[in-house]
Each structure stands twice: as structure tokens, then as C-alpha cells.
């Protein structure tokens, strides 16, 4: 099994979720994160004090899938999240050594 973790632009979340659902992904987990990268943030100024907003709002998606689906999932995410503007984000893939569905105790492939 693999865990695909993607950092994307927040307003792309719904597109990505739909694209993944379309290829049969039945579950995923999302967190609000802040990203630092090539895309530069704005400067906020409050009564003359400048704060460089180095961190931009991003959304992190984590999807566990069977290993053979991983590439398709990565592909799908990339396509759905792409705006071709800087800051579109990254996808990383990890090995998962075990997966369990808490409700039933099913493991691995059955747990997803």
C-alpha cells in the first residue's frame, strides 16, 4: 500500500476530491497547512510594521491506496490541481506497512 500526500492550493480541493472520486477513491483526509516555497507571499502592514507573510495557505491531502493505484492517483491529483502558476504544490508518495479500518478491524487493502 501507498500513502499519497499532496500539498495543493486550497481552492483546488473540491476539484481534486471529485477527480479522485471519479477514479474510485473512497476516502481521504485533508488538513489546512501553510506552505513556504518559491511562490512568495504578500507583505502585511499594520501601522507601519511590516510582516512578510512567508507562509501561504495550502491544503494537504492524504490518500491511502493499493500500491498499483498509486501512480494513477498521483496523476489524477496533478491534473486536477494544476493551474500552471507557481505554488501549485507537490505530491509525495510513501510506503504504508499496515492499514486497519477501526470500525471492523479489516486490514490492508480491505481497510481502505
Amino acid at each position: 500500500m501507498k500513502l499519497v500526500m499532496a500539498i495543493i492550493k486550497p481552492f483546488k480541493l473540491e476539484d481534486v476530491r471529485e477527480a479522485l472520486a471519479a477514479i474510485g477513491v473512497q476516502g481521504l483526509t485533508v488538513s489546512e497547512v501553510k506552505g513556504f516555497g518559491r511562490q512568495k507571499g504578500q507583505t502585511e502592514i499594520y501601522r507601519g510594521a511590516e510582516y512578510q507573510v512567508s507562509f501561504l495557505p495550502k491544503v494537504k491531502i492524504e490518500v491511502a491506496v493499493k500500491s498499483d493505484l498509486a501512480d494513477q492517483v498521483v496523476e489524477t491529483i496533478c491534473t486536477a490541481a494544476r493551474t500552471e502558476k507557481i505554488g501549485d504544490g507537490k505530491v509525495f508518495v510513501f510506503d504504508v506497512t499496515k492499514a486497519v479500518r477501526i470500525r471492523t478491524g479489516e486490514t490492508d487493502g480491505d481497510a481502505l
Binding site: 502585511e44 502592514i45 499594520y46 501601522r47 507601519g48 510594521a49 510582516y51
Partner: protein, 440 residues
Amino acid sequence: MMSISKRLMSSLPRLSTVAGGAAAGLLAAVPAFAEDAAAPTLNSGDTAWMIVATAFVLMMTIPGLALFYGGMVRKKNVLAIMAQSFAICCFVSVLWMIVGYSLTFGTGNAFIGDFSKAFLSGIGINALSGTIPEVLFLSFQMTFAVITPALITGAFADRMKFSAMLIFSLVWVLVVYIPVAHWVWGGGFLMNEGVLDFAGGTVVHINAGVAGLVAAIVLGKRKGYGTENMAPHNLTLSVVGAALLWVGWFGFNAGSALTAGGLAAMALLVTHIAASAAAVSWTLVEWIFRGKPSVLGIISGAVGGLVAITPAAGFVTPTGALIIGLLAGVACFWGAVWLKHKLGYDDSLDAFGVHGIGGLVGAVLTGVFAAEAIGGKTGLLEGNAGQVVTQVYGVVATVVWCAVATFIILKVLDMIMGIRVSPEQETEGLDLAEHGETIH
């Protein structure tokens, strides 16, 4: 405010001229009583207005100022700063009842009142101050004594101990606020000199601003100032706070007419005009120099305009107010955005930058724009250049006394109990460290 002082202090010589403006309003308001000024009777309209004005000024401190300041601190300190306004309201009100009113408005001498009205003794339900009950006059004044130390808390936000803050506020009201209020409104020497301060530009705002500046310097900068992100955590709170300050300020300024007549109405109008104009000028200046009109900017401008019109509210025309407002917006922008960074003190929420600078501008411009037709006093533009000198005299006396006394109080308190929280507590945030609570 002056017309009442007149009644309270009728032994003082120059009062009839000092109180001229307000008295004119009084005449307009209650013509039926005009012939018989020696035996005023209660006027229910004046009383109705002053009850509400008192409520409005209370609303300025809680929740107005608590919100205005609360939105500007970091999230870990928001309850603490709001608690400071709330606690000052409670503790200072008790102090005011016990000795504050008496020391401010009891006859006394040119520098301080006396203890004749301690615990409000002898002030019955039928005692009058002008055309309103004396208990109402002292309640209205109480709300002024409350907001002044609360304004100071903006300067030392995020680093002062709650215990030290409480004791400082009580001592400061006794040693600085009460004398200065007596000097200007209670028959003291500045009143006798003819210093004009309709609703507290000097007594409240310069006083608080200067005390804040001194406190910011004595306490030192916030940990991480200049390197860590100290951006306001939630300006929606500050917008609401500024709006409630504005609404409440009608009580502050128009209430200082102490009657519900033409003077109060004019004070309301000029207050609104000056606030609007200052918000406009801050916004435009910021747009030009910083590229964007910030929300913190427009509300700060409005507050700066409200501060600046405070001493002038019963003395100037709408056009005077427009100019005072426009100038105040620019001056406070300069104070909060440029001066502070230039001189390098950490006046966290610009108690000095807005209230100090705005108060100074307003005090001096009152001497410039005072119009006989409004408040019976003339200013520079009507040929009375001396009024500007008198105004500066009042400002200097206040600044000197306030700065010296504030410095000594803080230094002594620091020796006795320490006035600043530990670095760990500052990092953790005052909400949790000082009050054991957090925003979840």
C-alpha cells in the same frame, strides 16, 4: 462639563467667562429656567440625555476599548488585554466612589479637591448639579476616570503583570488623573487660566497617551519585537471596537454639554465630522504612501479624529471640525507609523501614537479654531492668539506632571513587586499565564 463646574465652584473668580460657551448651550436648552439661574431645577430632558451619555461612555471602555485593543494583540493575549479594561472599570469605579469624586470635584485648592464628599456622603437623591442630579454628574465623571487608565493598557499590552497593572491603575488615577481633572474641570489652576478642554483632550487623552509612552519605555519592548510576527490576530474585533468607541463618543463629547440642547447637538455633529474626516485623511495618506488602504488604518484614523475633536467639541464649527479631523488623521498616521519606528519604543497598540498625538493636535487646534458663535470663546482665527498659548500651557503642565509621576510610580512598583511577566509567561501568552484560560 464646565457649566456644572461653575455651579460647584461658584467662589472661583474667572469662571463666568470660562464657562461661557457651555452656559450658552444651557440657555438654549432650558430657556424657561434662564432667568432664575440661581435656583436651577431638574430638567428631565437633560437628565434623560445624561443617563444615556453615561451608559455610552461606559460602553466605550467595555466593550468598546476592550474590543479595539483585543483585536490588535496576538491570539494568546486577547483575553488578558480585554480583562484589563474590564478590571480597570470595576476597580477604578470603586475608588471613584470612595475618594475619587471628592478629590476631583470637592472644593479643595487649586491643585486638588478634598475629602468632603468621600463615599459620596451627603449627596442625596435630590441634590442637583446644574439641571441634572448630582449623582448623575458624578456617575458620568466616573466613566471618564475609568476609561483613562484603560487607554494606557494599549501601550504595555502583552507584557505587564495583571497584579501590577491593577495597582498601577489605581495609584495612577489617584496621583495623575484626579489632580489633572481637578486642575482643568474642578476649579483648579488650569481652569482659572482659561485652558479650554471641552470633554477631555488633555485630561483623558494626552494624559493617557503620555503615561502610555512612559510605560512603554519603562517596561521595554515585547519579547521578539521586530523579529516575531506580532500582527493583529483578528481585526474584526477592532473594527467593532472602533465603531462602539465612535458611538459612545457621542456620550463623551455631546454629554460634556451636560444638557440636551444646541450645544450637545453641535458637539455631536462636530465629533462625527472630525472622526469621518480623520478616517478619510489617514486612509488617503496610507493609500498614497503604502499602496493600500488598510482596515486598521481607517479605524485608527477615526479614533484619532475622535481624540482630536474632544477638547474642541463645544467650541468649534463643523468646518473647524473638518479641518481638525483632516489634520489629526495625518498626524496620528505619522505618530503611529513613523515616529514610533523612528524612536524605537514599543508602544504596542499606539496609546501614545493615537491618543497622545491626537490629543496634542486637538488641544492646540482648539486654541486656533474656537469660534465665539459656538462656545463663546475665541481662538487664533478670530484674533485671539493668546488662546493658543494658554492651550500649550495646559498641555505642558499636564505632560510634565503625568510623565514624571508615571515614571516614579512604575519604578517604585517595579522595585516592590515587579511589573513585567517572566519571559516564559510572555512566550506562553498572558491568557494562560495570568488567567489560566485560552481561546479554543
